[in-house]
């Protein structure tokens, strides 16, 4: 249809931009991954093509690090959702309309400070000999100094902190789209708050939920600086392996191979998670099928298709 293709043309500038500035350079990096490191002082060379770098990339070190990263990624994303969804809900439904804009901006304001500076702020807060440690010891919550720094907990705190806005904002936009009408209708029909949320609000805002989860999980898997600053050795993430090949080892071929493997594994994880969720919610979907309209009357002219409302 003419209008459809004309409308689709709206995406052409984005296509072009990304193709020129992203796909082309990344294709170059994938090209690098088939090369090798030519001696001590070279960074990459593609005279001889091989898959050897991929064999090197799929080493036990890589997988062990990836396991750790995946653990942090899943827990971090889940926590971001659990912490961020109520905030997004609050901003979308509980806060007066004229305050929402300010709140959106306030959620983002901390992130206009450089990330290393924010992380150092956390270091100061979590310092075992710092004021918060002293305060907690004084109150009696802690027996000894605060021992969170350089543990997995610190990694999670840092990671959740850095990605919370990326979860809150898409969720807010999606919840907001649901609007008060359907929710009120649900309450009018007798559903309680929780039922309304799980059967009306959440399903209708599903694209936003997916956007939020992806926008948090994916960059989180590639992130590593905050994790190492706050978590020390416990914050060893696979992004650091990739970066170390490009920087310290100056072995762009191996770095490229590792990067490609990392990207493939992330996409695989998402596919697996999507499949798992699809399978898990299968019984819920089939049992929630609500058929409206008369089924027994059939006319010759028109068979009114039973309207199906699925949650």
């Amino acid at each position: 249809m003419r209008s459809r293709s004309a409308g689709a043309a709206l995406a052409i500038p984005a296509w072009a931009w990304l193709l020129v500035f992203f796909v082309a350079p990344v294709a170059m990096v994938i090209w690098f991954s088939f090369g090798y490191k030519p001696g001590v002082f070279g960074t990459h060379s593609n005279d001889i093509l091989s898959l050897d770098r991929y064999a090197e990339a799929l080493s036990p070190t890589f997988f062990a690090t990836f396991q750790n990263t995946l653990w942090v990624g899943l827990i971090g994303t889940a926590l971001c959702f659990l912490i961020g969804a109520p905030v997004a809900y609050w901003m979308a439904f509980k806060v007066a309309p004229h305050r929402r804009g300010i709140l959106i901006a306030l959620v983002l304001v901390p992130f206009w400070t450089n990330f290393l500076v924010r992380t150092i702020g956390w270091q100061v807060i979590l310092a075992p000999e710092g004021w918060m440690s002293g305060l907690l010891q004084g109150i009696g919550i802690l027996d000894g100094p605060l021992e969170i720094l350089y543990t997995r907990t610190a990694v999670i705190i840092g990671v959740v902190y850095n990605y919370l806005p990326l979860m809150v904002l898409p969720l807010f936009v999606a919840f907001d789209r649901v609007g008060p009408a359907l929710r009120e209708a649900s309450k009018d029909l007798g559903a309680g708050k929780l039922a309304t949320f799980f059967r009306v609000t959440l399903p209708l805002s599903r694209p936003g939920v997916i956007a939020g989860v992806l926008l948090v999980f994916i960059p989180l898997m590639g992130d590593y600086i905050t994790a190492t600053v706050l978590g020390g050795a416990r914050g060893n993430m696979v992004g650091q392996l990739v970066a170390s090949q490009f920087q310290t080892a100056q072995n762009w071929a191996l770095g490229s191979a590792m990067a490609v493997v990392l990207m493939l594994v992330i996409m695989l994880t998402i596919a697996v998670a999507a499949a798992v969720i699809w399978v898990v919610t299968l019984p819920f979907r089939s049992s929630n099928r609500l058929v409206l309209g008369p089924e027994e009357t059939k006319t010759d002219a028109d068979t009114p298709a039973p309207a199906e409302v699925m949650s």
Partner: protein, 394 residues
């Protein structure tokens, strides 16, 4: 600053004496000398290219601007401002955070990066020369080279100082909490021993394969640039299996956070970084710095001029300017590392600089310091370092 210099005698008409006295500061004299010397060279040189790459600067007039690509906050603002006010060129400072980033930039730019002065660490200088990333100095424009202590000239990466000259140098040692580790630690062997015992779980090592892998070889008094696979395998077995589980963090700058905040018990650190941390800690007496035996490292950041530098005259002038005794002292005070100048220790102590034993070392100590060499074992070292991180994070 020593006052024992032979006075300069000038024969001039009486009327112009006050002018000469007013205008003739040492720096002015040097730049004028450079100009006249350069003019003479220009007059003498024939057009047509030479065979070997000649230095670009010939002592002509200084350009209007100068672009320095260096580590962040690595020059005293007073020196930078004084250069502009006395000699003219406006300075643009840009920063990088790793040598490899610098090299990647220069290689990709192929001579059009727009940077004049770069500050690589010595171990990378051979690579940069090989890849044609640096131009030779015109030593005539750098008379202040004579202010640099000869012990810091002619290092392994550039024995003739044709491409680089010392800007600042340092070494690697460790710091420990005296109140918690009560015995005295003096060698790298002691470091590893304490890491496995008292300081287990509260030890940090450098976030850098050179320092981490090097520590093993320094403890064993072996050549730390070895490419012998058996040596490297022994190193891997020791570090990954026995040391890594006791390491809680890989941090190259413990002075900026771990020491002042007291988060670790035993930390591998550079001397300047450790000094900063101890000075800024609330209880400096708690910390003990050790220059460990039997051997350790010497690393050096160098002034160098990039290939294709648009302002070579100004570049030489700035490097020369930074090597005057006053400016050497200013930089020493600002960055807290030894800047390689002659006879600076006494003056520094007189000025009240604290913990000078973490900056100035005796010739005996200097003899225990070895330079790094970049070779084919780098890949294995990075592997060992990555494996240590996995083992430590488990």
């Amino acid at each position: 600053m020593n006052e024992s210099r032979t006075p300069l005698r000038i024969l001039a008409p009486e009327g112009s004496a006050p002018t000469i006295l007013r205008e003739l500061s040492r720096r002015r004299f040097l730049s004028i000398a450079a100009l006249t010397g350069g003019a003479a060279v220009l007059a003498a040189c024939t057009p047509g290219g030479g065979g070997s790459p000649a230095p670009q600067a010939t002592g002509g007039a200084l350009e209007n601007s100068l672009s320095i690509y260096t580590w962040g906050d690595y020059d005293s603002p007073e020196v930078v401002a004084a250069f502009t006010s006395e000699l003219g060129p406006r300075i643009t400072l840009d920063s990088y955070s790793s040598n490899e980033e610098l090299i990647a930039k220069l290689i990709a730019a192929r001579g059009t990066s727009g940077f004049d002065i770069v500050v690589p660490t010595g171990v990378f200088v051979p690579q940069m020369i090989e890849n044609g990333l640096l131009t030779k100095f015109n030593k005539d424009l750098l008379p202040n080279l004579s202010n640099i202590d000869p012990a810091y000239l002619g290092r392994a990466w550039d024995p003739t100082n044709d491409y680089s000259v010392c800007k600042a140098w340092g070494t690697t040692g460790f710091v420990y909490d005296k109140t918690l580790i009560t015995r005295e630690l003096t060698t790298w062997g002691d470091f590893f021993d304490a890491a496995q015992n008292e300081a287990s779980g509260k030890t940090s090592m450098s976030d850098d394969p050179a320092g981490v892998v090097g520590a093993y070889f320094w403890a064993e008094d072996m050549d730390w640039n070895t490419e012998d696979p058996d040596d490297l395998e022994a190193c891997r077995a020791f570090l990954v299996d026995e040391i890594a589980p006791h390491i809680s963090a890989f941090d190259s700058y413990p002075g900026t956070n771990s020491i002042p905040q007291g988060t670790q018990m035993l930390m591998q650190a550079w001397n300047g970084d450790a000094r900063l941390g101890i000075l800024e800690a609330s209880d400096p007496d708690r910390w003990q710095w050790v220059l460990p035996g039997p051997i350790t490292e010497l690393w050096m950041d160098n002034w160098a001029i990039a290939e294709g530098a648009p302002n070579p005259e100004a570049a030489h002038a700035f490097i020369n300017f930074s090597m005057t005794p006053e400016n050497l002292a200013l930089n020493l005070d600002y960055i807290g590392y030894n800047v390689g100048g002659k006879d600076m220790e006494q003056a520094a102590i007189d000025e009240g600089l604290e913990l000078t034993d973490l900056i100035f070392f005796t010739p005996e100590q200097l003899a225990t310091m070895r330079e790094q060499e970049l070779n084919d074992s780098q890949t294995v070292r990075v592997e060992i370092w990555n494996e240590m991180k996995v083992a430590a994070g488990a």
